[in-house]
Amino acid sequence: MNYMENSFPVPSDYFGVLWALAGIKDAILVEHGTTGTVSYNVVNFDILNHQTPKGKLFSSGLDEDDVIMGCEDKLISAVKELDATYRPKLLPIVATGVTSVIGLDLDGIAEKLKKEVNAKLLVFSGGGFKGSYKDGIEEVFLRITKELVKAPEKKCSRTVNILGVSIDSFNHVSDLHELKRLLSLLDLRVNTVFTQNTDTEAIEQMSEASLNIVMLDSGIESAKLLEKRFGIPWVYGMPFGIRGTVEWMEKVADSAGVAINRGLIASELKTHGQTMGAYTSFLKPFNRLRIGISGSNEYVKGLAYFFIKECEMDVNLVVIQPSAFQDSIIVELLRLGVKRVLTAPDFNTLKKNIDSMNLHVFFGNSYELKAAAQVPIKIHSGFPSFDYFNFHDGTPVLGFRGNDYLVQTLVNSVNQHTEVWRI
């Protein structure tokens, strides 16, 4: 049995629901449960770049009578009060473990309340028993896409949506900044990032975009639905490295039906391509470094590509997350030249693999980096990251600027850990 003393309980669908909805500015969430759950959530929002659920998430304040009698009065009062006080456009009702177990019919309550409130009510009844946080995020994305996106009044040929990003997405502040900059080089405007710093109006207008760019796989089902309903094509993946970013931009331009200004791209390469030279040294054979990578599946694929194909280094170990696409991801990574791929290993298995490979560099989340205690260079690259903030917008891993940042980080880290050349 794994008691997770060194790892962490994977957050459930309940958290995914909160995190995916938290980025919608005119949504206010009410959860039916004890106040302790909401109060405790201040902790997990705080590690997501020092965010707070204040003014966004409320508790119905369920008590013993409600548990025994299954009362709904407190929830009804809370919903009405929030609707009247804050006038949100969207008012999701979120189940907690307690409400799921006592079997309260939240959909029925929402149906009754529909005529009495102005906000659109959406019920998320998983209560933490429907899967992992990724399932919760996916559920929100799909429900919101189904229920909020309207038929387009017009089509905007130079507008795109970015899908699959929620407040828990690692390094999203910098990566989105760079992604928007890259898109502006293609003369493409971002309608909205679904669901980060967005609002219901922007979501309603998602159908007007000419392309959906899916950053993380939790946005794929929404992209498919938007394609089916409104014929919007979509591309999936993130741009890593120099060549990788050019290829990504070509793919995006092609899918959006826009021409590329190659002079602009050349200018980018002139500015950002030179950093690759930092690896070339008679004294420091970077290509002998042994690297391990963990993070979101999109991040690990991108980083593995970057190090193997563009930096011409070895990637000895990659850790991927469970996913519907995990088999094809493993094949892709092994073809790329990754020596070993593990899927969500427990702490001891991960540690054993890291130690046996004598890695010099490991990219991972806060807990995985503890498994890599013996590895000289440890770099944060994934969620959860309780000991490392990413609120600065100038630390991208994606795109041309991400190339600079990655090279800079790696070279500086190696210079601080010269023992890597001896082990």
Partner: protein
């Protein structure tokens, strides 16, 4: 005042022992903390123990993050929390066998001196008899098992979590020969890097301190706790434990909530010195005189200034308000959760000072902000959103470090904290003012 809830707010002069502060809103944020959370935060104070937390990911993930954040501090808390997740199948088919297997496995693998088994709301709702389960499983292991209940839906606050934790310790305690002049200190959080004022003072008079909790002890320390002649109780949540120890082991106790004013602190020390038959008058007068001098020196700074006070579930909040009056501050309002018996004397003192102010329930930070916006004090004596406070011209005065202190050191810490805003606040205030003056361009 425009806000309805301020009009409805209780005035100080109306406060009596039966009063319950009305909640300011139906939808609450953040509401009161939960019993499970305080238990998960408290048990790492017991070295060589392991706590097995039972529940769904909702509770366990947050508990893990909480303990991980402590690992970033200089507090030497052991990584002793283990997690047993409940799935929907467990809820349907029962969790008893799963818990039993896990307890036996944990005892074998981790060999703790004691294993705490901690419930969450869910365990309590399933309805399986947790206490019987613990009792039966104890026969199969050689480690003392202690079950702690944390059903949050049955209480208005997290305090039962503390109370249940304290009470659970009784199971570790064994009848001892009473050691003259030895004490336990219950309900005092002591930072390990510094001996606090009370501990230093008592030790200088030859008093032996057997156990301090919650502050870094071992099961062996707790086992010997009944050898103390006296329990010094500093939080009401540890009072049931002290009463139980009196009844079972004959240990006397004295109980105080933490005082803030010089006279109240002096009185606390007088009671302690009488109870322990030690003479600490010289030391007390020296510390009191230094504190009073500092307090008097600060009066000019606060004369004519106004504040709203945030009460605390621990310590004498109304005595704290009296200290602010002594500094010359005008109290425009208070945010507080409940009145306890030990507050009543302090409330009468405040009433006799001819002050009256509205008091609202502390459970909802959005309403607290509306309250502050309406009252516009110079200072908010408590934790708050620094951007909100800055944009409304209210300076926060954060006295959270008193959490670790006792006696005159609390008073000195409070006075020091009142002298300055939290780090970074001035820059936040500059930013908010700039935004207010110029607006944010689209």
């Amino acid at each position: 005042m425009n806000n309805d809830f301020i009009k409805r707010a209780t005035r100080l002069q109306e406060v009596n022992e039966e009063l319950v502060f009305e909640k300011t809103a139906k939808a609450q944020f953040p509401g009161s903390s939960c019993a499970f959370r305080v238990v998960a935060n408290t048990l790492p104070n017991i070295a060589n123990s392991v706590a097995l937390l039972l529940g769904p990911e909702i509770c366990l993930y947050n508990a893990k993050l909480g303990s991980s954040l402590f690992s970033l501090t200089d507090m030497p808390l052991p990584n002793n929390l283990l997690f047993l997740l409940f799935s929907s199948e467990d809820i349907t088919f029962g969790v008893s066998q799963k818990i039993r297997d896990a307890v036996i496995d944990v005892c074998t693998r981790y060999k703790p001196e004691v294993l705490f088994v901690v419930t969450t709301c869910l365990q309590e709702i399933i309805g399986e008899d947790f206490d019987v389960l613990i009792e039966e499983t104890e026969n199969a292991v050689s480690v003392p098992l202690i079950g702690i209940h944390t059903e949050n839906f049955t209480c208005e606050s997290a305090l039962p979590g503390f109370e249940n934790t304290y009470m659970s310790l009784i199971k570790l305690m064994k009848k001892q020969e009473i050691e003259k002049g030895a004490v336990n200190i219950w309900g005092m959080r002591t930072h390990p890097s510094a001996k606090n004022e009370l501990v230093s003072l008592l030790e200088s008079k030859g008093v032996v301190i057997k156990s301090i909790f919650p502050a870094f002890c071992t099961p062996a320390d707790l086992q010997k706790a009944p050898s103390a002649e006296m329990n010094l109780v500093f939080e009401r949540t540890s009072l049931p434990l002290a009463k139980e120890m009196q009844s079972r082991f004959g240990c006397d106790y004295v109980y105080f909530e933490k005082p803030y004013t010089p006279d109240a602190i002096e009185k606390m020390y007088q009671i302690i010195s009488e109870a322990l038959n030690i003479n600490i008058d010289v030391e007390i007068q020296k510390m009191k005189s230094k504190s009073v001098q500092k307090l008097n020196g600060m009066k000019k700074t606060f004369e004519g200034k106004t504040c709203v006070v945030s009460g605390s579930p621990f310590g004498r909040s109304f005595n704290y308000a009296e200290l602010l009056l002594q500094l010359g501050l005008e109290i425009k309002g208070m945010v507080h959760s409940e009145v306890i018996e030990s507050d009543l004397e302090d409330i009468e003192i405040l009433k006799s000072c001819n002050v009256d102010f509205p008091i609202i329930h502390a459970g909802n930070s959005v309403q607290t902000e509306l309250f502050l916006k309406e009252l516009r004090p110079d200072y908010f004596m408590g934790m708050g959103d620094m951007e909100f406070l800055a944009s409304n011209g209210i300076e926060p005065k954060n006295t959270m470090f008193v959490h670790w202190l006792i006696g005159f050191s609390i008073l000195i810490e409070v006075l020091d904290s009142l002298c300055e805003a939290p780090a970074g606040f001035k820059t936040i205030a500059y930013k908010e003012q700039y935004i207010k003056n110029w607006g944010v361009a689209n």
